[in-house]
C-alpha cells in the first residue's frame, strides 16, 4: 500500500523534452489509468515511476520517500510489460518465483508461494511448462502472477492487454480489476484504449504531447472534458465539433451559417463575443424532421451497430455524427433537423482549446 507523488517531473532525451512537467498525486490503493495516444509520454512516465528511466528533473516519491535515484527493485514496484517479458528459458513456476529466488528465499517457501499465487490466477496446471507453450492469455496470467508474488506496494501496467484479441482483452480486464479489488495495491495502468481506461480506472489521467490534459473520474472526464483534446479523445463515436461565436444577446452560439445553438444565460453572458468550439456528443443529439431542430444537415450514410445506428451528415464543410436507436426515415442528400439535448453542449475557447464555464462573482459555478 503506497501513495505516489509526482512533482513537476520532466524527461528529456538528448535535447528533446518528451514529458513537460507532470504533477500527479496517486492515493493509497487507488487504480489510476493514464490514457493517451502513442508518443504522448505515458509509458515514459510509467517507466520513470518504475525506475527503468531516469528522471531529468522533478521528484517522484513513493510513501514520502524520494525514489529518483533508487534501483527499480528498491522502490517496491512490480510491473507487467506489454509483451509480457517472460523468461523463455524458465518454466512458469521459475518465472513466477524468480524474484523470490533472487531475494534468497528458501526453496520450500518459494514453492509454497508460487503454488498459492498460481492458484489465484488459475495457472496450477501449467507450472512446469515453458512460456513458449502457453497461449497469449496464459502468458498474461504468468506476467500478472510474477508481479503479484512480490506483494508490491505499487503495481505498474504498461499496456498489458494490447497484444490480446478483443474477447480475451475484456476477460483479462475483469481479471485485473478483480485482482485489484482483492489485493488493493496502488496501481498505475497505461493504455491508449479509452474503453480500457474508462472501465478500469478509479481516476483517469488523460495525457497528450507530454502534458496532462485532465485528471478526474471517468464520469467527470466524459461529462466535463477540460479541453477540446479530451473531448475529442474520450467517447466513441468521437465528439462533433462546430465553430461559432457566443452572443449574450441571443444567449446562444451563432454558427457561420447563422444557425443558433442555445446556451444557458449565465454562460453566454460570461463569454459574450468570444469565438468558440462547440463539442456535441453523437449520443446526445437526436434526429427530428427538417426545420424542427437547432439546425438542418444533409444525410450522407448510416452505419449499423446492432442496438443503434450511426447517422452521418454533411453540415457546411464538416461531417457530423448522430447516434440514434430509433429508425428515422432518411434519404441521401435530404436534410434532417438535429436537436441538441439539454446540457449536451460543451464549450471550448477557440484559441486555447480550454473549456468555458460560467463565472458568477468570485465563485466558479459550473452550469454546463
Amino acid at each position: 500500500m503506497a501513495q505516489i507523488s509526482i512533482r513537476n517531473v520532466r524527461k528529456s532525451y538528448a535535447k528533446q523534452e518528451v514529458v513537460h512537467g507532470v504533477d500527479l498525486e496517486v492515493a493509497t490503493g487507488e487504480f489510476i489509468v493514464i490514457l493517451g495516444p502513442s508518443g504522448c509520454g505515458k509509458s515514459t512516465l510509467l517507466r520513470m515511476i518504475a525506475g527503468l528511466e531516469s528522471v531529468t528533473s522533478g521528484d517522484i516519491t513513493i510513501d514520502n520517500r524520494v525514489v529518483n535515484d533508487l534501483e527499480p527493485h528498491q522502490r517496491g514496484c512490480a510491473m507487467v510489460f506489454q509483451n509480457y517479458a517472460l523468461y523463455p528459458h524458465m518454466t512458469v513456476a521459475e518465472n513466477i518465483g524468480y524474484a523470490l529466488k533472487v531475494a534468497g528465499l528458501p526453496k520450500v517457501d518459494r514453492l509454497a508461494r508460487v503454488q498459492a499465487v498460481a492458484t489465484s490466477v488459475g495457472l496450477t496446471e501449467f507450472l512446469e511448462r515453458r512460456p513458449g507453450q502457453l497461449s497469449g492469455g496464459q502468458r498474461q496470467r504468468v506476467a500478472m502472477a510474477r508481479a503479484i508474488i512480490r506483494e508490491p506496494k505499487v503495481f505498474l501496467f504498461d499496456e498489458p492487454l494490447s497484444n490480446l484479441d478483443a474477447k480475451l482483452r475484456v476477460q483479462m480486464r475483469h481479471e485485473i480489476r478483480r485482482i485489484h479489488n482483492h489485493i488493493h495495491a496502488t496501481s498505475v495502468f497505461v493504455t491508449h484504449d479509452q474503453q480500457e481506461g474508462m472501465t478500469l480506472a478509479d481516476r483517469l489521467v488523460v495525457m497528450n504531447k507530454g502534458v496532462i490534459e485532465q485528471v478526474g473520474t471517468p464520469e467527470e472526464i466524459y461529462h466535463r472534458p477540460a479541453s477540446v483534446y479530451v473531448g475529442g479523445f474520450i467517447g466513441s463515436p468521437a465528439m462533433n465539433f462546430l465553430s461559432g461565436q457566443i452572443s449574450a444577446q441571443d444567449s446562444a452560439v451563432v454558427l457561420a451559417n447563422g444557425a443558433k445553438i442555445p446556451l444557458p444565460v449565465p454562460l453566454a453572458a460570461a463569454h459574450d463575443g468570444q469565438f468558440t468550439q462547440i463539442g456535441l456528443r453523437p449520443e446526445e443529439l437526436a434526429l427530428v424532421p427538417a426545420g424542427k431542430g437547432a439546425f438542418d444537415a444533409a444525410f450522407e450514410f448510416a452505419e449499423e451497430l446492432g442496438a443503434a445506428r450511426l447517422y452521418h451528415f454533411q453540415f457546411e464543410d464538416l461531417m457530423l455524427t448522430v447516434l440514434s436507436a430509433d429508425k428515422p426515415a432518411v434519404e441521401k442528400g435530404k436534410p434532417m433537423g438535429i436537436r441538441i439535448g439539454a446540457g449536451a453542449v460543451h464549450l471550448f475557447a477557440a484559441d486555447t482549446g480550454k473549456r468555458l464555464s460560467a463565472k458568477v462573482g468570485s465563485r466558479e459555478r459550473e452550469l454546463v
Binding site: 518504475a50 525506475g51 527503468l52 534501483e71 527499480p72 527493485h73 514496484c77 512490480a78 510491473m79 510489460f81 506489454q82 509483451n83 517479458a85 517472460l86 523468461y87 523463455p88 528459458h89 524468480y98 524474484a99 533472487v102 531475494a103 515453458r130 513458449g132 510474477r146 512480490r150
Partner: protein
C-alpha cells in the same frame, strides 16, 4: 516456408553449374583422390601405386608420433577455443552494455578476422620473439623466462594465443548479435525482480545466449583443427621437437616434406572424418537442445 521454383529446369541447372564446378574441382575431386591414396601406396615421384587396403591406417594408428599430434591438436583446439570464446563473450558484453568507447571497440574488434592466418602468425612471431621487442625486455629482467624456440609448452601457449586472437573477432560478432537479440524488456523485468547486473547476466543473458554459444564453440573447434596451419607454419613449423606438430601440420609435413603421400592422405581422411563428426554433432544434438520458442 515459401520457396521459389523455376519453371524451366535448364535455367536452374545453368545457375548452379558454376558453383558445382568449383565445389567439385576444389573439394570432391581432391577428397576422392585422397581417399584413393589412403588405401594405396603412392610412389613419391608418381608412376603407379599398389593397393594396400587398411595398411596405411594401421601404420598411422600404431605410430606414437601420430597420437602425440592428435593430443596436441586437442590441446590447441580446447585452449584456443576457450580463450577465444571467453574473451569474445566478455568484449561483447561490454559493447552490449554500451560502456565508454563501445563504438571504437565494435569496429576494432571486427578487423582481426579479416587478417589471413599466416599474417597473424608472422605478427605474433615478432611480438613473441625472445630476442626482440617486449619479450626481450622480459627476458632481460628475468633471464631465460621466455623462449618458445626451446620450450615446447611456451610454443604451444604462443600459437594458442595467436589462434585465439584471430578467432575472437568472429565470435564477438555472433555474441554481440545474440545479446542484442535478447529483448530489452527481459532485462528490465529482471531488474524489477531485483536481479543486479551480474545476476541478470548469469540468469537471463547467458542462458539465452546458449544457442549462439554452442554454435560458436563447434565452429571454433572445427576451425582450430583445419585453420591452424597458417599460424603453425609461420610461427613454429611444428617445433620445437614437434611440440606444436598439430594433425593438420603433420599431414603437410609427412606428405610434402616426407613425400609419404599415402600416409598423409590417410591422416587427412581421419581429420576429415573428425570435422564431419563435429559438424554432425552441432546440427544433430546441440542445435536441437538449446532452442527456446
Amino acid at each position: 516456408m515459401r520457396r521459389a521454383y523455376f519453371k524451366n529446369n535448364w535455367i536452374a541447372a545453368l545457375m548452379v553449374t558454376p558453383q558445382l564446378i568449383v565445389v567439385f574441382t576444389f573439394f570432391y575431386f581432391p577428397a576422392s583422390q585422397a581417399m584413393y591414396w589412403a588405401f594405396t601406396l603412392e610412389q613419391p615421384w608418381g608412376g603407379g601405386n599398389t593397393w594396400v587396403g587398411l595398411d596405411n591406417f594401421r601404420a598411422i594408428l600404431s605410430d606414437d608420433l601420430y597420437w602425440s599430434s592428435v593430443w596436441l591438436s586437442i590441446v590447441f583446439a580446447l585452449g584456443s577455443t576457450a580463450l577465444a570464446v571467453g574473451m569474445a563473450l566478455i568484449l561483447a558484453i561490454f559493447v552490449d552494455r554500451q560502456l565508454a568507447g563501445y563504438k571504437a571497440y565494435k569496429i576494432g574488434m571486427i578487423w582481426p578476422y579479416a587478417i589471413a592466418a599466416p599474417a597473424v602468425g608472422l605478427a605474433f612471431r615478432f611480438i613473441f620473439s625472445p630476442g626482440a621487442g617486449i619479450m626481450m625486455f622480459v627476458n632481460q629482467v628475468f633471464p631465460d623466462l621466455w623462449n618458445p624456440v626451446e620450450n615446447g609448452t611456451q610454443a604451444m601457449a604462443m600459437v594458442i594465443l595467436a589462434g585465439a586472437w584471430k578467432q575472437v573477432a568472429y565470435n564477438f560478432i555472433f555474441f554481440l548479435a545474440g545479446l542484442q537479440s535478447i529483448p530489452r524488456s527481459l532485462i528490465e523485468a529482471g531488474a524489477m525482480d531485483g536481479a543486479r547486473t551480474l545476476r541478470r547476466m548469469r540468469d537471463i543473458q547467458l542462458p539465452l545466449l546458449a544457442p549462439t554459444f554452442f554454435f560458436v564453440l563447434v565452429i571454433n573447434i572445427t576451425d582450430s583443427f583445419t585453420d591452424s596451419f597458417g599460424i603453425i607454419d609461420t610461427m613454429t613449423a611444428g617445433g620445437p621437437s614437434r611440440a606444436t606438430n598439430l594433425m593438420v601440420y603433420k599431414i603437410f609435413n609427412d606428405g610434402f616434406q616426407g613425400l609419404d603421400y599415402s600416409g598423409a592422405a590417410a591422416q587427412s581422411i581421419i581429420l576429415m572424418g573428425l570435422v564431419i563428426a563435429l559438424t554432425f554433432v552441432q546440427f544433430r544434438y546441440i542445435e536441437r537442445k538449446v532452442h527456446y520458442t
